[in-house]
Amino acid sequence: MSRVGLAVHDSWVEAERHLRIIPRNIELLIFATIQPIMFIVLFVYVFGGAIQAPGYSNYDQFLIPGIFAQSVVFGSAFTGVGIAEDLSKGLVDRLRSLPMARSAVLVGRTISDLLRNVLTFFVMLVIAFWPIGFRFEGTLFEAFLATVLLLMFSYSLSWVQALMGLSVGSVEAANSAGFIWMFPLTFVSSAFVPPETMPDWLEPIANANPFTIVTNAARALYNGLPVGNDVLYSVMWSVGITVVFATLAIRKFNTSTVA
């Protein structure tokens, strides 16, 4: 096998290590799924009546893509926690002494988190369709593309989380550090309300937020509305963040030694 072939093989072996335990940890799976379901139900029924979303058939059609976006992005926080947990045990030290591609430890982790996110996404999708009544108002391809954009963005943030998980000293710290910036990132955005309704100083921040761009692109595609350049910008942001943070994280992993 070539060097790249081996790296792919090793990454998959690593991903499998994490995927294998998902069915064994039913509680974790349930709680990971309950959170997005709760968000959908709360936002739709609590805010649904109060917020107007001009241009959409109803607020649900505006809101639900935002919740999809937020949930998959929150899902990336697992990466940092998982890596910090791995580092806190002796296993990573053993892995460093194996003839494997070192990047595989991080690539495998991010891939397994992406696949877990796909699973969570489908659970949310089902809830959104019934009982909420969400519909794809564009083509199926557009809905597929929207989903891919969301997952790509979430994958890129997994690498940010990976770098944080490698940098903080403990699992607890990784947990807090991983979640805390998710709140401003997802709320100062177009996910729940149109940025025009925000204070003047906040609106440009919300509009410049890459999360807004990705959410806007997905929302337009799910609703069959004109999407403009947002698809391109979303891909650029996701690829850019992935390249930069994957490079930093892998470099950090390779040079850091566990004491």
Partner: protein, 348 residues
């Protein structure tokens, strides 16, 4: 086992300096060949020119107090750390220039059981096997064979999280052996184990010897090195301060120890005068003036002579005993402190 059993002789006891040269293995026979390893951590010199030669198929013990440089040496040899200077060849491969080559040939068991506790024992085995790029079927078969041998077959399909410390450590070593390494590094394999698990681990390590696997074992426990290792390398402050079989090291501090207790303190001078010619070095008198400790030549059968001589001098003898020095005595003599003297552990 499939591996050919090396026709390995236990290292001969070296009686003469010239014998040492004749017995020196040629570089091809060395599983580990390290010269002048230096490693700094900031201002701390963790390794200060470590030389280490381990012939194929031997079990060597690397002994020293905490912070002496044992683990750092192992980390350099297992490619986890790059030395600032020196050469480290493992199975003839340079650990610095070809780390992957070394990684293919070694097994490492660190101080903490490096297992994936969310997976079963069997899954752990095949997981590591596949990371060694063994075909999946081979990894599974070899894994089962090792689980059987390490007495883990009954627990093979249990998640490791529920394993005892001893079981984890056994699984850990089994995982290190999956790709049939030519050199196995065991970094403090029994630290933190209860006495029973420790004994079981020792038996297991002794069995490895029969496979012809080279083992480099670090330990703080002198009895462990004494029992398992054919040769012991004593390391302190980042360099090797002694190297030999347990017996050779013990001989270095002057053979056996004679301990005599007498009944009356008035006989002190008479007893001293009688004992002096029978001992190989100065006789120490303990605080109460009735106990004498002195080195004697090993295997001299000196006890009857001692009793007779003291009796003839009219000294009333309470007790005479001879014991071999322990490695603790050796360590104390070599370093001026015991292995458990943790206060001085930071290498300077």
């Amino acid at each position: 086992m499939e591996q050919p059993v090396n026709d390995r002789k236990p290292p001969t006891t070296l009686r003469h300096p010239s014998a040492r040269m004749a017995d020196m293995p040629s570089p091809n026979d060395l599983a580990i060949d390290a010269h002048g390893l230096v490693k700094h951590f900031g201002d701390t010199k963790a390794l200060d020119g470590v030389d280490l030669q381990v012939p194929r198929g031997a079990i060597y013990g690397l002994l020293g107090p905490n912070g002496a440089g044992k683990t750092t040496t192992v980390r350099v040899l297992t490619t986890l750390l790059r030395p600032d200077a020196g050469v480290a060849l493992v199975d003839g491969i340079d650990a610095v220039t070809d780390p992957d080559g070394v990684r293919r040939r070694i097994g490492l068991t660190g101080q903490y059981a490096a297992v994936e506790e969310r997976l079963t024992a069997r899954e752990n085995m095949s997981y590591i096997g596949r990371l060694f790029h063994m075909p999946k079927r081979d990894a599974v078969a070899r894994g089962d064979e090792l689980l059987e041998r390490f007495d883990l077959s009954d627990a093979a399909d249990r998640v490791v999280k529920g394993f005892s410390g001893g079981m984890r450590r056994r699984l850990d070593i089994a995982m290190s052996l999956i790709a049939r390494p030519s050199v196995l590094f065991l970094d403090e394999p029994t630290t933190g184990l209860d006495p029973r698990s420790r004994l079981a681990m020792w038996e297991l390590i002794e069995e490895l010897e029969a496979d012809g696997t080279t083992v480099l074992l670090t330990t703080q426990y002198l009895d462990e090195a004494d029992r398992l290792a054919q040769r012991i390398v004593v390391i302190d402050h980042g360099h090797v301060i002694a190297n030999g079989t347990a017996d050779e090291l013990k001989d270095r501090i002057g053979g056996d120890r004679l301990r005599v207790s007498i009944a009356k303190v008035e006989n002190r001078e008479t007893a001293l005068a009688t004992l002096r010619p029978l001992c190989t070095a100065e006789v120490d008198v303990s605080g109460d003036g009735r106990t004498f400790i002195a080195p004697i030549r090993a295997g001299d059968r000196v006890v009857p002579g001692v009793i007779r001589a003291l009796d003839d001098a009219g000294v009333d003898v309470l007790d005479v005993e001879v014991h071999r020095p322990t490695l603790d005595d050796v360590f104390l003599t070599l370093t001026g402190r015991t292995t458990s003297d943790e206060h001085e552990e930071v290498p300077v």
